[in-house]
């Protein structure tokens, strides 16, 4: 069965790459890029081997912790997890989870990222070479177990998150947990880094790393040091704990595979809605005035708002945009010991990441694009309504973030400039995203598909659209934020200029973007469906 599963995977990938050859280029590019980092790993091995044993193990624990966090967070918030062997696809063959697990496990180890991390951690294990072959052997075992923890941790995190998003109750719990943990990043960052990065590196960090070395996160990295210092028992229990952790994660993954085989993902959980939310939503026209009075606009806006409230793919997307400003405020500002005024960047980043996050909106919302296409030339209405649905939650979210930063800094005099910069950033990025989502759509997980799913090479496939929309964003953002920077750095009166320029340019860019996108939508309607499916 192992050979069957592996053959299946590589055949599917091969066919996919033959059908879309550019994916192969991206895959090869990724592999070459990974290989180019190998010399850096050897350099790091050399540097580490010159350190004393306990410093070496602490650095390795830090590296392992960051990598494990990355393996769990990146698929959930950014890239999704490659799903060629999505267990749900085995359901029709009547196989058991136990019979396909060995194949799935080996396939998970034979991906480009997993092989790269195995190679890097094996190279780093070589930094113990002056402590004897027994220690090196243990370092190799510890490294393999740590990488196994990463790969399995990612699988289990994605599987559990997918399950959590299936029902309304668990979805709410999951959202609260994610928002709370993201919210904890900022204060935690400030507490740890309040006396500057050097103080944190000297006092708090070693304590944290020492504790992590007693958990499965860092035990695989500390075990060689324990053996080298003659603490065989310390090495033994750490390896035993790692083995147990890997076994538990593997069992948890198997449990999720078994669950997936008999619980198809697309079911809506039997939810019922007696009232017609589309008709009711379409009745609300006052908020948008002449912009939203059209029947098609109101219909699309009402439907898009329903999707923002209920579709797991949208919930995942909306949580993802909060991460960057929180990391900026909680980690980047204190770590680089930046002036507190830099913190005003956080709500602006939030506004820009919400807007830029919609750069593939048409593909994301394409499940019944055909209904919009067959209804006539309604591109402008469709694009305006989608943007309005984002504004319904984005304006309060950005407003709250701005208010929180103002309350934290007590620099209320910069409020007008901050509002201008936020509105400008949101409007400009939404305008750019409206255009790129029509001109450069790329395939997104469909409704009912795993919201964390991704095809081989899809990360690169999105790269062109992301680069172009990102470049456009970076070109236009200075226009709407420059007066605000002057308000912070030169004279607070610039804030009023920032308010006027931000609001005027933001609204203008948003309206212009939506109009251009709408006419392209109509012009490309016969190709859009092929572009997103």
């Amino acid at each position: 069965m192992v050979a069957t599963v592996l053959t299946l995977k590589y055949r599917v990938v091969r066919h996919q790459l033959m059908r879309e050859w550019w994916r192969a280029l991206l895959l090869v590019g990724g592999a070459v890029w990974s290989l180019s980092l190998i010399p850096a790993a050897f350099w790091m091995q050399r540097m580490l081997s010159l350190e004393v044993a306990d410093v070496r193990s602490q650095i390795l624990v830090g590296a392992a912790a960051v990598c494990i966090l990355g393996w769990i967070v990146v698929p959930l918030l950014v890239t999704g997890l490659e799903d060629t062997l999505d267990p749900g696809r085995f359901a029709i063959f009547g196989v058991s989870a136990r019979s396909i697990m060995p194949g799935l496990t080996i396939a998970a180890a034979l991906t480009v990222p997993a092989l790269f991390f195995i190679a890097v951690f094996m190279i780093l294990a070589g930094s113990w070479r002056y402590d004897g072959s027994g220690v090196v052997a243990l370092a190799v075992v510890g490294s393999l177990l740590t990488v196994a923890l990463m790969a399995l941790g990612a699988r289990v995190a994605v599987a559990w998150s997918t399950r959590a998003l299936r029902s309304r109750r668990t979805r709410a719990i999951a959202l609260v947990t994610v928002v709370a943990s993201l919210g904890a990043v900022a204060p935690a960052g400030f507490i740890v880094l309040r006396a500057g990065i050097e103080s944190a590196a000297s006092y708090e960090l070693p304590v944290v790393l020492e504790w992590l070395g007693r958990t499965p996160v860092g035990a695989g990295m500390v075990a060689p040091e324990a053996l080298a210092s003659g603490d065989a028992w310390g090495a033994a229990w750490r390896v035993a704990m790692m083995v147990a952790a890997v076994w538990i994660l593997h069992r948890a993954w198997q449990d999720n595979v078994a669950y997936t085989l008999v619980h198809p993902l697309h079911r809506g959980g039997g939810a019922q809605r007696r009232s017609d939310a589309v008709l009711a939503g379409a009745a609300r026209r006052t908020l948008w005035g002449p912009l939203g009075s059209d029947s098609a606009t109101r219909a699309v806006r009402a439907r898009a708002l329903l999707y923002w409230a209920t579709d797991p793919r949208y919930l995942v997307g909306s949580v993802g945009v909060v991460a960057l400003p929180l990391v900026f405020f909680g980690l980047v500002v204190p770590m680089l010991d930046l002036d507190p005024r830099w913190a005003f960047g956080a709500p602006v980043i939030l506004a820009a990441s919400i807007g830029w996050g919609r750069h593939n909106d048409v593909a994301y919302d394409s499940s019944a694009l055909w209904m919009d296409v067959v209804a006539g030339r309604i591109g402008r209405q469709v694009m305006a309504a989608r943007t309005q649905a984002v504004l319904v939650w984005a304006l309060p979210a950005v407003g709250l973030a701005a208010l929180a930063i103002l309350a934290w800094s007590r620099l209320w005099e910069v409020a007008p400039g901050l509002i201008g910069a936020c509105v400008g950033a949101l409007g400009a990025t939404l305008g750019i995203s409206a255009v790129t989502s029509v001109v450069l759509p790329y395939r997104a997980p469909g409704p009912g598909e795993n919201p964390f799913g991704a095809e081989v090479g899809s990360v690169g496939a999105s790269l062109v659209a992301q680069l172009i929309s990102g470049a456009a964003m970076f070109a236009i953002l200075p226009l709407v934020t420059a007066p605000f920077v002057l308000a912070l750095a030169v004279d607070a009166r610039w804030g009023w200029v920032a308010l006027v320029t931000g609001v005027v340019l933001g609204v203008a860019a948003c309206v212009a973007g939506v109009r251009v996108a709408g006419s392209w939508y109509d012009r490309r309607s016969g190709r859009l469906l092929a572009g997103v499916s």
Binding site: R267, V278, A282, A299, R303, L306
Partner: protein, 258 residues
Amino acid sequence: MPSPPPAPASALSLRGLHKRFGATVAVAGIDLEIPTHSFYGVVGPNGAGKTTTLSMATGLLEPDAGGVLVHGVDLWREPAAAKPMLGVLPDGLHTFDRLTGAELISYAGLLRGMDRDVVRERRDDLLAALDLRQAGSTLVTDFSAGMTKKIALACALVHAPRVLVLDEPFEAVDPVSAGAIRRILQSFVASGGTVVLSSHVMALVERLCDHVAVVGGGRVLAAGAIDEVRAGQDLEDRFVGLVGDVADSRDLAWLRQS
């Protein structure tokens, strides 16, 4: 050379439609005149190009070459005038499955610029006529395949189009609902409307349609009034004669239970 004007009685004119996907030619020049007030069947083997043709005929897929006229209006040049005349039921495409059945019909009606009160009234009529009242408050994602088909048909009907283009409308639909759909479509044609449907079920096409086109390999193999196409044969026999039988009908002896 300018294309000839459409026959005045044509509800839908397909002119030299071509479509290629990479190395695969899906449609290799399809011409069809579908008369107004006709019940027109499009039949063909799997992969014959039926869905691609109907997608191009309804504005869902841009043809590489060729044109489509809806009651004389060029669909690809004047979509704002042509599309309101069409009601479309595509095959194999998703719907907005986070909406309830009732909401999906309302959405389709509002997209067509209809008044909300009219949408509400027609939505309730369609839910009753298609035996979907219970499904009106259920999310489309929880629908069976047949229910999804029926709700998509309701969306195609809500704006009372002049031409209905339906890709496999009876697929997965139970016999009782199929009877209701047949009655709705027959009464639509009797009142002057035009229905174009694709199907694999020859008996159904023979029973419902007055015209038929047999499509194979991306081309029209035969088209016209159903009696002309049948040429005195059973439609299924004529179909097999036109597209060819399975080349290798080997006996699966290992499947026999005794």
